[in-house]
């Protein structure tokens, strides 16, 4: 990746792909992200900045376990070991020589919407915007694993970043992907985001892209890939990022839990912005919707606070784990409105009125709602 001509070609390819897919890559006007945590950074995107196919890199939400690791790109090595035929130690140049892939995909923190659960649960208090979509470019994890050779009996791929915990007593952030998902052709090791080098806060020089799955698996500052027979026994696989099965009532201890994987169906209203004042003139209610590895089948919108819904027009899917934009023309009369959106996926799952409460505050996917006032 140190060769500038190669870099330009890759950037050009990503932008060309973005153009071919009809993606808008322009910057939104509003400055800033909501500070949920200032050290290490947990920064949330205002929902109105998500109105498009590519969230600009400098409006994209930031989630940190332990904050950035500073890695020297010249000395950088990605190690591949464990149950492999031969161990690899790959430089950024080595990776740049593998086939390059670009794809749009939604990145969402599994805790997005945590602050909307009642009763409240501990964790970063995200509301609507710990989500975004970018065009990610890099190499397939599969291509790297095939060069190492996967031994018989391998079932998981452990991903570890260089963002080591502040103390040895704090568990490191390691995630295990089942081998099937690791070998999926859309699972990438990305070095670029919306055609630009991956910014430090987004995981430079390398981060995982796991389309359709929660952000937990999109490990940043990736330095180690290990092929294993078993899931990593650490905190972030065995304790954190798990859902009770079956659900539990608040205060009840779950008997059984399972790791988070795919994102459930969800929609987001990006226009109008929450709590704006609009003129009484024809406008468009718009937003995005996604459903993990599934396609979104329909989005319905209510402008009367959820009493009645009408179908919005919905874009077709642009690939696994990409969001679909939707629109509904609206000719408002003066008054106060509560607009509600509800998406249904191709398997028939619909956003619930009340998502399943869980002690980690994960996977909130209740109906999205904004309030606005129309003045004559």
């Amino acid at each position: 990746m140190s060769d500038p001509s190669r870099r330009q070609i890759l950037a050009g390819a990503a932008l060309a792909l973005a153009a071919r897919l009809g993606l808008r890559t322009g910057r939104a006007d509003e400055p800033g992200l909501y500070t949920r945590v200032s050290r290490p950074h947990d920064l949330e995107t205002p929902a109105e900045a998500l109105d498009g196919d590519a969230t600009p890199n400098d409006r994209f939400f930031v989630r940190s376990h332990f904050g950035p690791a500073i890695l020297d790109p010249r000395r950088f090595r990605l190690s591949v070991d464990g149950m492999v035929g031969r161990k690899l130690s790959l430089s950024l140049d080595d990776l740049a020589r593998l086939p390059q892939v670009s794809l749009p995909a939604v990145l969402q923190c599994s805790g997005n919407g945590r602050a909307l659960f009642s009763p409240r649960v501990p964790g970063a208090q995200w509301r609507r915007g710990a989500v975004g979509q970018a065009v990610w470019s890099g190499v397939r994890l599969r291509d790297v694993l095939q060069r190492a050779g996967i031994a018989k009996g391998a079932r998981f791929v452990r991903l570890l970043g260089a963002d080591l915990p502040p103390m040895a007593t704090v568990p490191p952030f390691a995630r295990s992907l089942p081998i099937e998902k690791a070998l999926h052709p859309s699972t990438l090791i990305a070095s670029r985001m919306n055609g630009a080098p991956l910014p430090l806060l987004h995981g430079a020089p390398l981060r995982m892209i796991v389309p359709g799955w929660v952000g937990d698996d999109w490990v940043k500052w990736l330095t180690s890939i290990r092929v294993d027979a078993e899931e990593d026994p650490g905190f972030y696989m065995r304790t954190g990022y798990r859902m009770p099965v079956p659900p539990v009532a608040p205060g009840e201890t779950p008997k059984q839990t399972e790791p988070l994987t795919t994102m459930p169906v969800k929609s987001l209203i990006t226009r109008p912005a929450d709590r704006v004042v609009l003129p009484a003139a024809p406008t468009v209610v718009s937003g995005v919707a996604w459903a993990g590895e599934r396609k979104v089948a329909r989005v319905e919108v209510s402008i009367d606070g959820g009493r009645s819904f009408q179908p919005a027009s919905l874009d077709t899917s642009r690939g696994l784990g990409a969001w679909q934009r939707w629109q509904l023309p609206w000719q408002p009369r003066p008054g106060r409105y509560r607009i509600v959106a509800r998406a249904t996926d191709e398997a028939g799952d619909t956003q619930p009125d009340r998502p399943i409460w869980n002690p980690g505050g994960y996977l909130w996917n209740g109906l999205d709602a904004i309030e606005c006032e129309v003045r004559g």
Binding site: R39, L43, N57, L71, Q125
Partner: protein
């Protein structure tokens, strides 16, 4: 860098009501009840502990943005103690403070915003590494820093430093060493600017543990 943030957060008082003049009343209540009341002294101690114990690893807005019951706060403090937060005797005090100031009934202020570039500018390494003699830096590290930050900057009582942005940012690094942070003492009198530059140069050359 962290010192002033913590100080301003504590000064702002986290949205709590102004401490009432409770000393006399509290003594009377303490006579009647075996459980010590949350006196102004205990509150001050708890606020100090919050800065000393929790801000080693994260800013206090992570704590202050939660809205939890006493039971939930007890669990959180226990979890953090298990992860190495030095809250030993401060635990009950912290729970007292957190349950009082950040309960499900506490109002939530609108969030602060920060431009992405400003956030990035807090962690991006200096473009040109400042000069420093790493060899001299190692000797200073062994004498002044190792007891808390570990043999190779991997962190023990104090946080890990290897690979962290602060050791690639000469001004932030010098400010932290000169003025101290939380439990870390100020070294302004003990270490010259040159010595601090040497120290930083050595730390910046440490490989990340395990890599």
């Amino acid at each position: 860098m962290i010192g002033p943030i913590v100080a301003s957060m504590l000064a702002a008082g986290c949205g709590r009501p102004a401490p009432a003049p409770v000393a006399a009343d509290a003594a009377a209540v303490a006579d009647a009840h075996p459980i010590p009341t949350f006196t102004a002294e205990r509150r001050a101690a708890a606020e100090s502990a919050l800065g000393m114990d929790c801000a080693i690893c994260h800013s206090l807005d992570l704590v202050q943005s939660q809205r939890l019951t006493r039971g939930q706060w007890e669990k959180e403090v226990k979890k953090m103690a298990g992860w190495g937060a030095p809250v030993e005797e401060d635990g009950p005090l912290l729970v007292e403070l957190l349950a009082a100031d950040f309960s499900p009934d506490t109002l939530e202020p609108p969030p602060q915003t920060i431009p992405f570039d400003s956030a990035a500018a807090e962690v991006i390494p200096d473009e040109k590494p400042a000069p420093g003699d790493a060899q001299k830096g190692e000797a200073i590290y062994r004498a002044a820093c190792q007891s808390c930050h570990g043999e190779r900057g991997e962190g023990t009582r104090g946080p890990s430093l290897a690979g962290k942005p602060v050791v690639f940012r000469a001004r932030d690094f010098a400010a932290a060493v000169e003025h101290g942070r939380g439990r870390m003492p100020a070294f302004a009198g003990a270490l010259s600017p040159e010595a601090i530059a040497d120290l930083r140069a050595w730390l910046a050359a440490r490989p990340l543990p395990g890599l």
